[in-house]
Symmetry: C2
């Protein structure tokens, strides 16, 4: 190839970081605590958000919904009364800091709110880009399989918490929880793993409490 792919990538990441820092300062100054939620397509990120947001209190949470196409999840959230902004990445496989800056310019999150950013469904690329968040959270579903930490290590490494979704399906897909936990903890010894089920509306209380506790640590509550 004419240009090395690796050097291109380094250049893109280098350009991203200062914008992400700028966003982080802007949000912190406004007392907005930002969670960047990553996970594969169909992992259940929106359903997890609905479970969590009910516990956090609707008016306190603003959501940025990242999508390549459409606004299905944004519409779902708005119908529930959630303040949700639609971010389109124009075909890109992840949200980057400049796109994030643009949407924040148009949609100012309420002072003191929690800003929940649902990234593009992709267990690879979003892990590489900081977008100004205070915490990164991974949504990983039981039907995706207990081998995911071993196959997609970077996503498990960079987050501060793992939300295991669709846990009600675990028995049907022979999900091996011990093997999964071992893989997660080898990469990330400190991240809690929250077991949840949107179908049964269970487990989200603990995730909400974790978010509030992390916010408190930064005195953004």
């Amino acid at each position: 190839m004419a240009i090395s792919k690796i050097s291109l990538k380094a250049e893109v990441l280098d350009a991203n970081a200062p914008v992400a820092n700028e966003i982080n300062r802007y949000l912190s100054e406004r007392g907005v605590f930002c969670v960047n939620v990553i996970g594969g397509a169909g992992a259940g990120k929106t359903s997890a958000l609905i479970g969590i947001i009910k516990r956090l209190g609707l008016p306190n949470v603003h959501v940025i919904e990242g999508d390549i196409a459409g606004d299905i999840d944004t519409e779902t959230l708005r119908k529930l009364g959630v303040v949700a902004y639609q971010l389109h990445t124009n075909g890109e496989c992840h949200i980057n800091a400049p796109t994030m800056k643009e949407i924040l310019r148009e949609n100012e999150p309420k002072e003191g709110s929690i800003l929940y950013v649902e990234n593009i469904g992709n267990l690879v690329c979003p892990a590489e880009f900081v977008i100004g968040e205070h915490r990164k959270m991974l949504v990983s579903s039981a039907p995706e399989g207990s081998d995911k930490p071993y196959k997609y290590p970077h996503s498990f490494e960079v987050v501060q918490a793992v939300v295991l979704t669709k846990a009600d399906l675990a028995p049907y897909v022979k999900f091996d929880r011990a093997y999964y936990d071992k893989g997660v903890h080898a990469l990330n010894p400190t991240a809690p793993i929250f077991e949840t089920s949107a179908a049964q509306d269970t487990g989200f209380e603990a995730v909400a409490e974790w978010i509030l506790a992390e916010r408190k640590k930064l005195s953004l509550d």
Copy 2:
């Protein structure tokens, strides 16, 4: 950013295409029919492959297993007696043609065989890269949800067949087959949708027959 992301991407894709053409010629000349299998992380690509390969006959199929890390699936396949080569993308979110060329140089597929390439689990990026294949096939699971064609259209657009996996879980995840089919066909009116279940070992006969028929069309059988 210093360099436009879009122009970078165009450059990478431009450099990829001629290498892909070269691979396609090489494989065609050897009578090797190549299927590039894409799909999200945990969609069930390896389990589908095992279902399909049983019908195609083990010695006739060579497999390239694309992974970011590890060799879990390659080991699973080898234990079943499948000729499988491990391809690592060094962190990249998709297989590209130069990486494909490299592994083919080291591992020559048998003349007249079917070469089944399992791409990185990612419903976004692999759709953009040709790697010398004759056909692209999408693996998409019921638990990922029936809205996937609407959210990740490009992957559904570029393939010649869709394999719907984990269909046995459809009732538990409220999978709406009519909505799914409508989304797929709006993007891709000609691709067949094969409903399969690895847990019940059903539906793979039809996928295998489709592969053989497509190979016949190119007189590679």
